[in-house]
Structure formats: C-alpha cells, structure tokens
Symmetry: C2
C-alpha cells in the first residue's frame, strides 16, 4: 500500500554502535519484535518525546534516565505500548532496564526503554526478559535492517536511510530507522525514530540539532491527527570519527552536520507518510507568504486533518471548496479570502478567492490522479513559507483501524 | 442509515409565519430544493452564522440584511452553496433578494438568503428566479414538512420537531427544521436550522435566547471536524400569541421559553448527528468535573474528531487506549492521568489512570455493540460538566465523501 516507498536494501554501520534484533513472541505471527542498541563510551544521546500528556510508562522512564547523560543501551519492543498501565507499567519498564544492566554491567538508568503497539495491556515482561540474553549476545556492528523490521507495527514496510558525507575531509556516516503509520500528527515529539552518527558532538549541541531537525521534519507530518502516547526520536552521536569534537553551535561544521541529519530525518518522516495506514496518495502541503510559522502550521493542520479534504484526495476529486473551507476554519486572524490563491502542482485553481480564469475540472482532476501531489496555498500576506506532508483517507484506513485489535 | 431517527410526521404551524417549498431543478433528480418563509409584521428574528472565515456569499448578504431588523422573508436553496464565488456570488444572492422584494412589495434587504450544497460553483440564479413566482403564490400556513425536505443535501432524513407548552396560561408553539449531515463541527454558528415560535419577544431578548441555545446544542455536535462555509441558525418569534411581550431577560417567563427552545434545538442538533454521513453509532460524550467549560470543549473536540476513536466505535471495539491518547493530546494544562476515570455507559473501564479492577473486554464490547453509547470522562479536578454528541467513522462515510461530486 505504501506510496512510492521501497524498503531499505542496505544500511550503513555507524562506528561506536552495535545493534541486535530478536523475537519475544509478542505477536501471534513469527516475526521479530525486539531491538537493542548498544552505544559505545563517550557518545552523546539526545531524545525528543511525545507531547501527549498520557505518555506511556517507557516514556516516563526514558525521560528520567536521559537526564543522567550516560546512555549505553536502547531497548525497543513492538506489539505492546505499555501505556495506560499505571505504576505497574513503570515497574515493568524499569525491570527491563535493570535486567539489561545486570547482563551488561552498566547502571540501570543508562538504559532507555521504548515500546510501541497496543495501548492498555500490561507488558509481557517475562517473555521479553527470557529473550534478553540472546539479544545481548547477538549484538553486532550492523543489524540496522533487522532492527528496522523489529520495531514495525501497522507499518507495511521497514523504514531506514543512510547518508555518508565529508566534513573537514573526515567521512561521516548517519543512519536512521523509524516506524509509524497511524496515530501520527505534527504536534509531538514524533513516532519512534532512532538515528545515529559517528560524528563527534557535545550533548548540548546534539540537543539543539535534534530539536531543529524534529521541528522541520517529524513534526510536520500528519496521517490522522492523532498523537501517540509513545512517540520518541533519539539521536546518537558516537564520536568515533576522527573529526574534531563539536562543542558549540558556532562551530564551522555545525550547519553542514545539521543539514545532513535533517535530510535524513526528512526522508524517515516522509517514509512514515508514504506508508501511512491505507494511504494511496502522498501529499505535500506548501503554505506560502504567511505572516509567521504559526499561520502555516494552523492551516496545514486544518488541511491535513480534514476528513473531507482527505477523502477528496482519495477520490482524485479536485474539490477545492473543501480545501477552502478547511483553510477558513483554521483561525487565522484577519485572513482575507480575496488574497488567497490555491495550486494543485502547477495548476492555479483558486485565484484571489475565486475560481481561476480558464481553470477546468479536467486540469485539476488529472493532477489528482497522480500518487504524489503538491497542494500549495498562497496567503499573500507575509514572507513566511513552510512545507508539510500528509496522505489521503481511504476505505483501507477505516478497515485497518476498525480491525486493529480483532 | 440514520441512528434511531424517524422523519417528522407532523409539524405544527406557527401563527404569523407562512412556508412554501418548490423545485428549481438544482439536482438531477426530481426533488424540491427551494424553501421560502414569509414572516408577519412585528416579528423578531435572530440569526447565528458560521465562524468559518471563508463564509459563503449568502452569509455575507444575510449578515448585512439582518442588521436592519425588519426581516420578512427567508429564501433557502439546496444543491449549491454559492461559496467561493466572489463578487458574482454576492450579486447573485442580492439579485434573489431583489426578485422576492419585487414580487412581495418589501425591501430587498428584508430578505435573508441561505444556500447549501456544492462549494465553488456559481448559483444557477435564472433557474431559481423562474421558480420564485410559484413559490410566493404557494405560501401556506403549514408547509414545514415540505421545507424540511427541500433543504436536505446528504441528509437521509428530513429533520423537524414541534413543541407546545403553556406560559402564563397562553399556549405557545415552537417548530424548527434543520439540515446537516457532514462538515459538522462544534466551532461554528452551525448548519442550517430554522426555528419559529409565536411567542412575543423583543429582538434583543431573542438574540440572547438564540446565543444561549446554540452554544449548548448545535455548537456541541461534531460529525467530522469540518466547519461549513454556509452554516446558519435562524430563530423567529412572530409575536402572534396573546401572551405579553417579553422585553428583557429578567422577565419571569424568560427561563421557561429559553428552556423550551433549547430542548427543540437539542433535538434538531442530535438529529443531525443521528443522520451523520455514514453513522452507525450515536455517541454522547460527557465530560465531568473539569475546571471550566473550555476544558470540556477541548477534550470533547479531541475525542469527536479522532479518526482512531471514531473507527473504534465503528468496530464496536472498546479500545480505551485510543480514548486516553485523544484526551492526552487535548492540551489541558496540568492534566493528571492518575485522576482520570472513563466509563462506557455504566461500565468503568479506566479508574484513576489504569484499567479498572474487574473490568473485562467483554463488558466493554457489549456496550460498544449498542447503537447509542454514553462515553463519560471524569477528570476529577473541578466542578464543571458538559455534554457533547458525535458519531463513528465508517466505510460509508468515506464512500459518501469520495463520491459526493461524481
């Protein structure tokens, strides 16, 4: 079902990071559902978490542990979100951290736990603990692909990308994986994404890079307007390259590294939308000439959560009335319809608030037939422009989410 | 498809108001698509309009005309919203008002125009004008039923209710009709609803009654989170009863009249949700013990627009994880999950943030099988409670909205 998305064939190892995947039998089918990351000494780790107030137990634990700034392991399970599980959920997550600590000789709060899957069921801790020895002993320099598969839930394809580039004549590698297909909305710390580089970066600088990258990539995608209880994005800099250590954001290499990591985040974020539950269309929403970023976000949010706009895309129907109605309810103070222009790809359909002269339904309809569509809304009231990514709402989305637990 | 909703069999005439319906051929099928209300001398008329900034041409015209406070006719057409039609749309709406004025000897700005249907097409004014003489001559004391049918779009059933009650030994009648099935969200002046009473009320008092009634009824329903460009609710008090004239809200009869009109608005609002596009479930959302009304609205909005919550209801799946996730993203400052309880009808499923002791999926599942479900969220943090009404998201909704224009 994914829109122009292929699974990764090869992902590059990142020096200073080992990975393993395995199965604790959390699904009824034979598939991996556990991933373990082992992070070498001297690495910096940043994380961004969901803004949902009902965050899951592993998020609560990970938020505490990352304060210590000495993260050595990430443990991720699919199949169960450990959310809405109260005190017992916290104990279960801590218990997993302690078990890994015991088997690897690190402190239990050097382990970050992550869970994704069904909400409201207690985590089958025993099954996971039984699998941990094999997982720890199975750590290898490059099992990124196995991890990308192990963290999938309703995803139809594994998502991962690698980049290699030079900074000051040093070769730097960045590899990242992500999962996510539903319960995706920009207002968050995102779904699950794990990105690692061998660049040598101080924690404070890495935090800044992650925040900037998440804001412009993972926080700009929307499948259904629902925000997960378990979202997290982790960025690891192992520091194993021969490059100098980046200690502040004035460093002459900062911009290049940030740009490369943002590119990778963008690919992962777009991969989530391409593999969105039931999606048949990949839609880029471009908001142009707004007064500020907040206006862009509000309009993109209204468009990308509107069931009417999304079903029109599904039907390949250039129903610009629905687009206009969604923009109109997006609470932009003083927005004047008479200045608004709307484009589908390069076809102008609405010009200064009315149907463009010469525009025909046939033109709009032929753009709508494509799998990738650019919807551009020009507000003509300022100088700020932003892009967002979303998908359509199909019968398949309803089927997937009506049958998810049965 | 409507959930426990029957069409009205009989609607009571309201003294001082005449009604007519007819067909201008705005649909390809044989059906009425025009309604005309003629309001007698001395009546007061209040109206509430959509908050969508891209409001339609007839809304712009009606907002101007109602300032004159001498409204004599309402003209409503279905099949075309006259929205996104710029200056020409305004001229078309004014043109209709002028034609009616010419045929009835009133001022053109004593006529309020309303349109509902497809957005972005110019109104077929000539077809409507050709039908107006028959409509004017067809005015009769009670064609409420015909009007209720003529204003339908994707509605599967006409919606109308009448109430009769006594105030100070005078018999008062209230009759109202409404249309609406999609593009329905609480943040608005509502869909189209026309309510008339023969009570004798000053315009300022009537405005107050309408505002209060809309806030607690039409503004508390949600089908899909989309807000129409054409919504309006009109309340007419013809003053033809023998009751004294109500000139301020301290009048001893104010509360009773407001309550009766609110009851009728509530029935119409709930009828819209029962007949919502593709709906198979009618869901009452009760938010209890919030700190203020705004908290209730935010949580109800998150729940009633969540595709995941709505598809869970469609699947009769008591998936409280999705309910919890939607509450968690509703931006209530300082909300503590550990105080939240969730009930499906009288079954407690979440108690202080965790699954209720003794709760079984079977219990939740059997409530979910019902056509009418009460979802109660107790925040346990204040003394304010409110009710809202919504429906599920079904395959049929996608079908209806993917095929609406084809």
């Amino acid at each position: 079902m994914a829109v122009k998305l292929s699974p990764p064939e090869n992902l590059l190892a990142v020096a200073g990071l080992q990975t393993a995947s395995g199965s604790a039998g959390l699904y009824n089918t034979a598939r991996d559902d556990l991933a373990l990351f082992a992070i070498g000494d001297g690495a910096a780790v940043s994380a961004s978490f969901t803004s949902n107030r009902f965050y899951a137990a592993p998020i609560a634990v990970a938020k505490e542990h990352i304060k210590r700034n000495n993260i050595r392991y990430l443990l991720i399970n699919a199949g169960n979100a450990n959310a809405g599980t109260g005190e017992r959920g916290i104990e279960d997550a801590v218990n997993l951290c302690k078990t890994i600590a015991g088997q690897t000789d690190c402190d239990f709060d050097s382990v970050l736990p992550f869970s994704t899957g069904v909400i409201g069921e207690y985590l089958p801790v025993d099954k996971i603990i039984d699998t941990l020895p094999a997982l720890v002993s199975g750590l290898s320099d490059n099992n990124w692909l196995g991890c990308a598969k192990a963290i999938m839930t309703t995803d139809t394809q594994a998502k991962g990308f690698s980049e290699q580039f030079e900074i000051d004549n040093h070769i730097i590698t960045v590899t990242g994986i992500a999962k996510g297909s539903g319960m995706i909305n920009p207002d968050m710390g995102t779904m699950l994404a794990f990105i690692a580089t061998d660049a040598n970066v101080d924690k404070a600088v890495l935090d800044k890079i992650l925040q900037s990258c998440v804001r412009n990539t993972f926080n700009r995608i929307c499948v259904d307007g629902d925000t997960s209880t378990n979202d997290a994005c982790v960025l690891i800099a192992t520091g194993k390259t021969s490059m100098h250590r980046m200690t502040d954001s004035d460093d002459h290499t900062y911009t290049l590294l940030e740009e490369k990591i943002r590119d990778l985040c963008l690919k992962l974020a777009q991969a989530i939308v391409r593999d969105a539950e039931g999606a048949t269309k990949f839609i880029t929403i471009q908001i142009k000439n707004a007064r500020n970023e907040d206006e862009c976000i509000k309009i993109a949010d209204a468009l990308s959560t509107s069931p009417l706009v999304k079903t029109a895309f599904y039907a390949s129907d250039p129903n610009w009335g629905r687009i206009l109605a969604a923009i109109g309810r997006s609470r932009i103070a003083g927005l004047d319809i008479n200045n608004v222009c709307i484009y589908l790809n390069d076809i102008c359909i609405l010009e200064n608030g009315v149907r463009a002269v010469g525009y025909t339904e046939g033109q709009g309809g032929s753009v709508m037939q494509e799998e990738e569509i650019l919807l551009c809304v020009d507000l003509n009231r300022g100088g700020v422009s932003n892009e967002f990514w979303t998908c359509d709402l199909s019968h398949e989305y309803v089927t997937i989410n009506a049958e998810y637990r049965t």
